[in-house]
């Protein structure tokens, strides 16, 4: 997000509708349209500003860029055909699933083609014995668990947007979720991926075997933000539904105490199925939608889940409650039935968009920090609210130390937008300072490009770029995302003075 303060980011910022496509763009569009109609005749293509505008952004709508065209292939061969033609004509391609990225992963690039995978929605196979499902990339995350449910199986990673986000997008972003603390991120739950390179070559990553010889390129592909290849088929691992799951809902008078309680639960050797936290403003926003019965007076809420067999769960719940009691908890409740458990979770899962009730826009940050630093960072954020004059809600995967501070602002007010961007960059830099990272699960996208300059050295970034070139030598596939160019970092360093010091003094400035 913070890139908007650099000139480099200008192309992503504000509406591209203000800048009509160049005549070169118009020519390219005509050539591409012609090529696609000839080579991939069955594939629907959208053109014209009216139809393209809704594709100019994803779930980070302050960044917009009108694409040249949108292609809506129905199957893998059409995906391949579109990629080949784009490669031949040198047209950048931006893959898009459910368009739920919070980091601008599906935001178009100038003169690019948006390749929507939303029509590839077939569940190809559910194998209850091997405990796998093979699906197309446009299948929604939650759908996989729905089709596995008759076999008492499910797909574990559950991002809050799981009703709408697609598994293809999850692979691209290495999506996390509420239950990743115990069951791992996307990367831990995918066995095999079929993908198509920018050249149109079909690639296979991973296998159904638990381990395979050679480099683990599957792990490299997962989380590559659509920069290496376009995923067309995914085999996911399914796991048995735990016989019992209980959710502990605890409220606190103080955010820092709640943060300490989180560290203490993990310190006790407990690995809850989920360990989530929300602060007071977040509780209020979401209660208005879900009516989950959350304690409105509390400064912070913890949601801590235990799953397994009856005895395991009973023991773990008792241990969790004991730790909470030692941490000045206001109130502890344990879910008494499945409906109640799901209701309590539903509040947490809807917390982000529910912020729309409080302000027209928000930035959802995604920093990760060591758990022991949670309380400290939350206090720092409170201080920053005054510095930047903006409100910040906190919703996060406390167990992972993965924070989602939600900075509220009004995008119609340019100054608020600028302050929100600075606020966000500031939070992420404090995360790095506390020994953490700038992203936990949302990806870098365009949102955190500048923060990548803070996180990695030029040599590290050069290695990333070299890997990108190995997959996509022409630099057409979701380029300008994920990894900042050296020039960009230099510019950011030049523009951005933090705490009176210029970062990256080693970078040549222009």
């Amino acid at each position: 997000m913070a890139q908007a303060m650099t000139t480099d980011a200008g192309s992503h910022h504000a509406s591209a509708l203000d800048t009509p496509p160049t005549s070169a763009g118009a020519q390219l569009r005509a050539r591409l349209l012609n090529a696609l109609q000839t080579a991939v005749p069955g594939c629907q293509v959208l053109t014209g500003e009216e139809n393209l505008a809704p594709y100019e952004t994803d779930a980070l709508p302050v960044y917009r860029q009108l694409p040249l065209m949108v292609a809506l292939p129905d199957d893998e061969s059409q995906v391949q055909g579109v990629l080949r033609e784009c490669r031949r004509l040198g047209v950048p391609v931006v893959p898009r699933g459910g368009g739920t990225s919070l980091s601008g992963g599906a935001t178009p690039m100038p003169n690019s083609l948006v390749l929507s995978l939303a029509r590839l929605t077939r569940v190809l196979e559910v194998d209850p014995l091997a405990r796998t499902a093979t699906v197309q990339p446009g299948v929604r995350n939650i759908r996989i668990s729905e089709v596995a449910a008759p076999y008492e199986l499910y797909y574990a990673p559950d991002p809050s947007s799981q009703i709408a986000c697609t598994i293809g997008g999850n692979v691209a972003e290495n999506a996390g979720g509420l239950h990743c603390l115990k069951y791992g991120l996307t990367v831990h739950n995918i066995l095999r991926v079929k993908a198509i390179s920018m050249d149109g070559e079909v690639l296979e990553f991973g296998s159904l075997a638990p381990d395979a010889p050679g480099l683990d390129l599957l792990a490299l592909l997962i989380g590559s933000e659509g920069m290496f290849a376009v995923v067309t088929e995914i085999t996911v691992r399914l796991i048995p539904k735990p016989p019992v799951a209980k959710l502990v809902l605890a409220s606190f008078d103080d955010v820092e105490t709640a943060g300490d309680a989180v560290a203490a639960i993990i310190g006790e050797g407990i690995i809850p199925a989920g360990l989530e936290m929300m602060d007071k403003p977040a509780i209020a926003a979401v209660e208005a939608f879900v009516h989950a019965g959350y304690d409105q007076e509390a400064a912070a809420l913890l949601l801590c889940e235990a799953d397994g067999n009856r005895e395991e769960v009973a023991e773990e719940v008792a241990r969790i409650c004991a730790v909470l009691q030692r941490h000045e908890v206001r109130d502890v409740q344990v879910s008494s039935n499945e409906a109640e458990r799901l209701k309590w979770w539903s509040g947490r899962k809807n917390a982000l968009p529910a912020a729309g009730r409080l302000a027209p826009d928000y930035f959802c940050m995604d920093g990760s920090i060591p758990r022991r630093a949670i309380g400290k960072l939350l206090k720092r954020i409170q201080g920053m609210e005054e510095v930047y004059g903006l409100q910040c809600l906190n919703v996060f995967h406390a167990g992972d130390g993965n924070l989602h501070p939600l900075i509220l602002f009004d995008g119609n007010d340019a100054d608020q937008l600028r302050r929100a961007e600075d606020f966000g960059a500031d939070i992420l830099e404090r995360c790095v300072e506390l020994g953490g990272t700038i992203t936990g699960e949302h990806g870098v996208g365009i949102e955190k490009l500048n923060s990548m300059c803070v996180q990695f050295t030029p040599a590290e970034r050069e290695t990333f770029l070299a890997i990108k070139r190995a997959f996509d030598p022409a630099g057409l596939l979701n380029a300008d995302k994920g990894i900042p160019t050296h020039a960009r970092c230099a510019e950011y360093g030049h523009m951005h003075v933090s705490g009176g010091r210029l970062p990256f003094p080693d970078i040549e400035r222009f």
């Binding site: 009216e50 809704p54 027209p360």
Partner: protein, 412 residues
């Protein structure tokens, strides 16, 4: 979400409302997940988030063609997205504004306009509708499938209207096409309420709720429907009627909107608001009496009942679980089909103008209902009843008819 509405637009009450709604949307895309047309078509332009964007573009003064109108026309107005939206975006209201604007910018062809006018007159006029319906039912086998598919089958005789008077009185919205298509529903409603010691009043001057005119683009005529109904019901309200009861959830939603739609009419604003506040679905009226009435049930409950909750009931009126609870009180364990939150494709006159989408949804819904093993499908809206019945051999009835069969022994 950022908005840059045209100044002229922003200064109208409609523009002001639209902007407030737009600014609540955070573009998260959750709505697409439960949108029937997005699930079928997989195009951002055919989901709520994309439609909101198209409307925003119009309000901001960008050029539009008939494409925008077409994508807005494809919306079922099921409002499933509103149930899903964590930010509380009132999509339905925004869509109304969007459709009006799209129509003004890119009017329909004259043929299409004429068709809509004829259809409105036909559906709206009992004098015409009833005999044509009966004739169609007789000739159904001989008619081409495209026409025959839209003709609802003749339903069993209606039984009697109760004669008892009670202290508690409610007004029943009888509807326009329902009395001809399924005459038993209103009578069953009256009989069941009679058992609960509630007398059902009818105002002969009241007619269609206004939804048909609204679906067909006749805004002024739709508001005239509302005013006529208000005038017809007012003396009964002054006489002590405690509620206006709707047994078609689609019509119930329309009544609930009177207050909003007539808010700028100095003569009707207050009355319209009161009518909306007094409007209750039959499930809301019956719920407090269900346990008591169940004691008096003399006939065996039917087995194998599945319940299809209409969108207007679960998303429009936001009534969920009530009908199932009432049926359960009578010992009827109504099964819900898979994806019960999705529309059956009826959506008022939608099935006539978007046959492909409508039939895809209907067939999917019938498949899901069949999978429950049901031998009887109960629902809560005349549109869904007629639409589903044309797609399945399993009898489709109003759930109040099921209660009536248990209380009064009327054949289903």
């Amino acid at each position: 979400m950022q908005t840059r509405l045209q100044q002229a637009m922003r200064e109208t009450p409609e523009g002001e409302e639209a902007e407030a709604i737009l600014r609540k949307c955070v573009h998260c895309g959750f709505c697409n997940a439960t949108c029937p047309t997005y699930q079928i078509l997989g195009d951002e332009l055919d989901g709520p988030r994309g439609r909101i964007y198209l409307i925003k573009q119009m309000l901001e003064g960008h050029a539009t063609s008939a494409d925008t109108r077409q994508h807005l026309d494809r919306c079922l107005t099921c409002r499933n997205c509103e149930t899903t939206c964590p930010a509380g975006v009132q999509y339905g209201r925004l869509l109304e504004t969007g459709r009006r604007l799209a129509l003004k910018r890119n009017p329909r062809s004259l043929t299409e306009q004429a068709m809509r006018r004829a259809l409105a007159a036909f559906l709206h006029t009992g004098v015409l509708f009833t005999p044509v319906l009966r004739l169609g039912q007789v000739l159904q086998a001989a008619l081409p499938a495209a026409v025959a598919d839209h003709i609802p089958a003749r339903r069993p005789a209606a039984g009697v209207w109760p004669r008892m008077t009670h202290e508690r009185k409610v007004i029943l919205l009888q509807g326009c096409v329902q009395p001809a298509m399924a005459p038993n529903i209103n009578r069953a409603t009256a009989r069941v309420l009679d058992q609960a010691s509630i007398q059902v009043l009818r105002a002969s001057a009241a007619h269609c709720c206004g939804a048909i005119h609204q679906h067909l683009d006749f805004e002024a005529a739709s508001l005239a429907d509302a005013r006529r109904n208000i005038d017809a019901w007012w003396p009964l309200i002054e006489g002590g009627a405690e509620a206006i009861v709707s047994n078609a959830s689609g019509c119930g939603v329309a009544l609930k909107e009177y207050g909003h739609r007539l808010r700028n009419d100095p003569h009707y604003a207050r009355k319209a608001e009161q009518i909306s506040a007094m409007t209750k679905d039959i499930a809301e009226v019956l719920e407090p009496h269900a346990a008591q009435l169940a004691q008096e049930a003399r006939f065996p409950p039917p087995a194998g009942v599945a319940f299809h909750p209409p969108c207007t009931l679960q998303h429009g009126l936001q009534i969920r679980g009530k009908v199932e609870a009432i049926l359960a009180a009578f010992g009827i364990n109504a099964r819900l089909p898979h994806d019960a939150h999705l529309c059956c494709g009826s959506a008022g006159t939608y099935s006539l103008f978007q046959p492909e989408l409508s039939l895809t949804l209907r067939d999917e819904k019938c498949r899901a209902l069949t999978q429950t093993g049901a031998t009887c499908v109960a629902t809560a809206n005349i549109g869904c009843i007629a639409h589903l019945q044309n797609g399945t051999a399993i009898p489709v009835v109003h759930w109040i008819e099921v209660i009536d069969s248990v209380l009064c022994g009327t054949a289903l």
